[in-house]
């Protein structure tokens, strides 16, 4: 019973032999803890998935702690329910390379519910330039989520831990405690399994998609997120279309523009358009080669400060190897609509012997294109591995550099950090037939 259940679960991992693309070629969703199940799993028949799972692969999968039903390797029967505890396949299906803890909602079945958690915990050794070293424990991420699917209706509520006040604050709600807040809360509808509509506090498009291709979210954020130039979630609505034959996805979102931590402050709304394409999806050797383009027309704050972004990215994204570069033209930053800058983000990651994960990332931020000065740079190198299916450990080293102009404007930027990062994520999934 236990083995057969694991076979089913392992099949979900193996649905992504090339990493972020589902078997039908549609990319999985990015930063979100789990995301549109359909976009990762499509309408695959569970029995088909199960048949594809070799025993060796199944044994690598997470442990199924409970199942109900006579034949867990076959398609669900009417009224049958299965429960499993697993390591989130997430962008998963790539153990050790996931940015998503899980696809919490399983497609191909009439209904499913998933409850999961993802935690990034760090020990940080900090060597700021010109100042004393320091060290601390930190919790960059603590997520808990619940997702459901009932036929074509989907939804998700995602809670995250955050400080009661901003960084540097001495007091706030319950002093400076870690508090829970809602990061996502949306309902969605899947139309002919190509289009997904979402309304509510939704994940945006660019940030999560870029994060997915980088793949090592536990080690660091992509440049646009690290510099807080885009929000990962916002109040609004979105529509994404999965292109046929694995050619990628396109999406549009229409949101308040203030991000998920603020209510709307102006009359403007953010319009975000993004396309994440795999132009050689038909050719297995070049399938992982992708291009992402996106544009955001937005505004921030009561003064409607311009906040427009144009983003382009070229990447190679598969389980064993990920390489890519993105460039963003930033129109409006730090609440100043007239400021124009650019961000270049380059990354590489590799999975060696199925356990050792190496990564490198370079973020270069030009904050004033008019002068060419005022640049910040961050370089990160990391090495990690799987301890358990649900647990990964990384060691990361960051170097942060600034030119003369940026050193004055951001005197705390420069320095070195060494971090020990522990990533843990688990999801309990219940799926069944009506």
């Amino acid at each position: 019973m236990k083995l057969s259940s694991a076979l089913v679960l392992a099949s979900f991992w193996l649905a992504f032999p090339d990493g972020v693309l589902a078997e039908d070629g549609r990319p999985t969703d990015p930063e979100a803890p789990f995301d549109s199940p359909e976009s990762s799993l499509g309408q695959r028949d569970a029995s088909v998935e199960a048949r594809e799972v070799p025993d060796a692969e199944a044994s690598r999968s997470s442990e199924a702690v409970a199942t109900a039903g006579a034949d867990t390797t076959g398609p669900l029967r009417p009224g049958e329910t299965r429960v499993s505890l697993e390591r989130a396949p997430g962008e998963g299906s790539q153990p050790g390379l996931g940015t998503l803890p899980t696809h919490a909602v399983t497609s191909g079945v009439p209904w499913s519910v998933a409850v999961g958690t993802q935690v990034f915990a760090e020990y940080q050794l900090l060597f700021p330039s010109g100042a004393d070293w320091n060290h601390r424990f930190a919790l960059p991420r603590a997520w808990g989520y619940l997702a459901f699917r009932l036929e074509n209706v989907t939804g998700r509520v995602l809670l995250e831990a955050t400080r009661g006040t901003d960084d540097g604050a001495l007091s706030g709600v319950a002093d400076d405690s870690l508090l829970l807040r809602i990061r996502e809360a949306w309902g969605g509808y899947r139309v002919i399994d190509l289009v997904e509509l979402r309304v509510g506090l939704i994940p945006t498009l660019l940030a999560p998609w870029l994060t997915q291709h980088w793949g090592l979210r536990a080690v660091g954020r992509v440049g646009l997120r690290d510099l807080e130039l885009v929000a990962p979630a916002d109040l609004g609505a979105s529509a994404t279309v999965d292109l046929p034959a694995g050619f990628g996805r396109v999406g549009v979102s229409y949101t308040n523009g203030e991000g998920y931590s603020s209510r709307e402050l102006n009359r403007g709304k953010n319009l975000e358009i993004a396309a994440d394409l795999r132009p050689f999806a038909f050719e297995p050797a070049l399938g992982p080669l992708g291009v992402l383009v996106g544009y955001t027309n937005g505004s921030l704050g009561a003064g409607s400060a311009r906040s427009d972004r144009v983003v382009g990215s070229l990447y190679w994204d598969q389980r064993e190897l990920g390489v890519g570069m993105s460039a963003a033209y930033v129109m409006g930053l730090a609440d100043r609509g007239e400021r124009e800058g650019a961000v270049v983000d380059a990354w590489a990651r590799g999975l060696i012997l199925d356990h050792l994960i190496l990564g490198a990332q370079l973020i270069h931020f030009m904050r004033d294109l008019s002068s060419g000065a005022d640049t910040l740079t961050r370089v990160t190198f990391s090495a990690g591995g799987l301890i358990l299916d649900q647990l990964r450990v990384y060691v990361a080293a960051d170097g942060r550099f600034a030119d003369a102009a940026a050193r004055v404007a951001s005197p705390w930027w420069e320095g070195w950090d060494v971090r020990l990062v522990v990533e843990a994520d688990v999801v309990v999934r219940v799926l069944g037939a009506l």
Binding site: L170, R267, N270, D374, V408, A409
Partner: protein, 496 residues
């Protein structure tokens, strides 16, 4: 698919429409940045007490200096915008974060009344005291001096001379401290001879100290003894109003006084702090206009009403220091930060022996003596003999020296070696340092003057909250609302 096409069309058209209707501010302009920055900084107060913020903005609109006082968030944002001169320097000290008062403009310097009854010039607003890059406060001071000189009617050449004297004095004090040379102690009567502005402060301070003028101005004698006046205190200042506090808030003050006393360097006898009366005070300050401010009448050294003491209890917020070195904060809380601030800020930590911090009904508060003797430098008094280059130059040298001294003291974890660091950085280029800072100050004073007009234009165009839309979907915290009180109407500022 038709509904989908309709939805997609709506989204696209909606987005395009939003571009065209995002409000009267051009999103790429300085005015947009100004409004966005101010609203972001005042966001919490805007959500909870918009009428008070309305008063603050109206106050800021009145004069360019009031705008300067209220727009510290904009100044800090400018200091991080490398396109602006105020964010550029050849003499930066990466990783060095000295203690500083955080908002060292000239009107934040004034007299403090020491325990021995003497008055001395010190920084008198420690709300933002924390650790900052040194040039933030140096420039905050120098720009303020430049604005003061212009308000006094000095020529641009004279303004330059005054600012030059300010920066030169700052650097001279830094160099002296770095070399261990003796520095004059408290700035008192001994320094007033050739300084008309200091002389004016001390003259009026002594007069009001001897008369206990605050008791005359704020209280009256009734059947139960001395009590605060209620309502408008001075018809010439209709916005300055004393109002009743809810009984539970007054009751909470007894515990606050105990907390406050326990943290004082030289605590008075417990009975000295027996609360006789308390009122909510509206209509003072500029940047802190929207904060809860309470006046507390305490017994003083005896039962005689003649030595009753007035204390000001003021709500405290964050210092505003952002993005500093790890650990990111340098005190355990606001109360602890304020408690330590005098050690760094003042020539002697007991320059105002009644300055302290505590919590009141869950709010971190600063407590200090309310005394008419504690006169503050005001640009509005820069007339006659006080409106000369010599007078303003001499005064600016004093406050610059005070700033250099306080930045060189160990406080809030700062080691106190800042003077040596800056001295080494500037060595051999002293004149270049001064000239750079003078240019920055004059240039940014222009920016402030232009911003003031932009601010006024934004208020006219977008309303008294700069276009911030109140979200009043949930009932206010009634207890907090009672503390916010009902501020009196703000006098119109736009009389053009």
């Amino acid at each position: 698919m038709r509904p989908l096409a309709t939805l997609a069309t709506a989204l696209v058209l909606g987005g395009l429409a939003s571009c065209a209707t995002s409000g009267p501010l051009d999103p790429g302009t300085r005015a947009s940045a100004l409004v966005t920055t101010m609203i972001r900084a005042d966001r919490r107060e805007l959500e909870g007490r918009p009428r008070l913020v309305e008063g603050k903005y109206a106050r800021m609109a009145r004069t360019v200096y009031d705008f300067y006082r209220g727009s510290m968030p904009l100044f800090r944002a400018d200091s991080a915008d490398s396109r602006l001169r105020v964010a550029q320097t050849r003499f930066d000290l990466p990783g060095v974060l000295p203690f500083s008062v955080g908002d060292a403009h000239p009107e934040n310097f004034g007299l403090l009344l020491a325990g021995d009854g003497t008055l001395a010039l010190e920084p008198n607003d420690l709300d933002a005291a924390d650790r900052y890059p040194y040039q933030i406060d140096l420039r905050r001071l120098a720009v303020g001096i430049a604005l003061s000189a212009r308000i006094a009617g000095l020529s641009e050449a004279d303004t330059r001379v005054v600012v030059d004297r300010c920066v030169t004095a700052y650097l001279a004090t830094i160099r002296a401290l770095a070399r261990g040379e003796p520095i004059t102690g408290r700035i008192t009567e001994a320094d007033e001879a050739a300084n008309p502005i200091l002389f004016d402060l001390l003259r009026r301070g002594r007069r009001d100290r001897d008369a206990r003028a605050e008791l005359e101005a704020l209280t009256h004698m009734g059947p139960e003894g001395r009590r605060f006046l209620r309502g408008v205190v001075d018809p010439a200042e209709p916005e300055h109003v004393l109002a009743d506090l809810p009984p539970w808030a007054i009751a909470g003050l007894a515990r606050t006084m105990l907390d406050y006393r326990a943290r004082l360097e030289l605590p008075p006898a417990p009975e000295d702090l027996e609360v006789l009366d308390a009122v909510r005070e509206h209509g003072t300050g500029v940047a802190s206009w929207a904060r809860i401010r309470v006046l507390v009448l305490v017994r003083g050294p005896s039962d005689s009403p003649d030595d009753d003491l007035v204390l000001e209890v003021k709500e405290e917020g964050q210092s505003g220091a952002t993005g500093p070195l790890p650990p990111g904060v340098f005190a355990d809380g606001e109360v602890e930060r304020l408690r330590e601030a005098p050690r760094g800020a003042w020539t002697t930590p007991t320059a105002d022996p009644y300055f302290g911090a505590a919590t009141w009904v869950g709010i971190p508060v600063q407590v200090r003596r309310e005394s008419e003797a504690q006169k503050t430098f005001r640009t509005s008094r820069l007339v006659d003999e006080r409106a000369t280059p010599e007078a303003l130059g001499a005064f600016s040298e004093l406050v610059a020296s005070l700033l250099a001294r306080l930045q060189s003291r160990p406080a809030l974890g700062a080691t106190g070696t800042f003077a040596q660091s800056l001295d080494a950085r500037v060595a051999g280029r002293e004149r270049a340092f001064v000239e750079d800072e003078v240019e920055v100050a004059l240039e940014h004073a222009d920016v402030v003057e232009e911003d003031w007009q932009r601010f006024r234009d934004a208020l006219r165009a977008r309303g008294p909250l700069l276009g911030f839309v109140e979200a009043d979907s949930s009932p206010h915290d009634l207890e907090r609302a009672a503390l916010y009180g009902s501020p009196p109407p703000v006098a119109p500022w736009d009389t053009e």
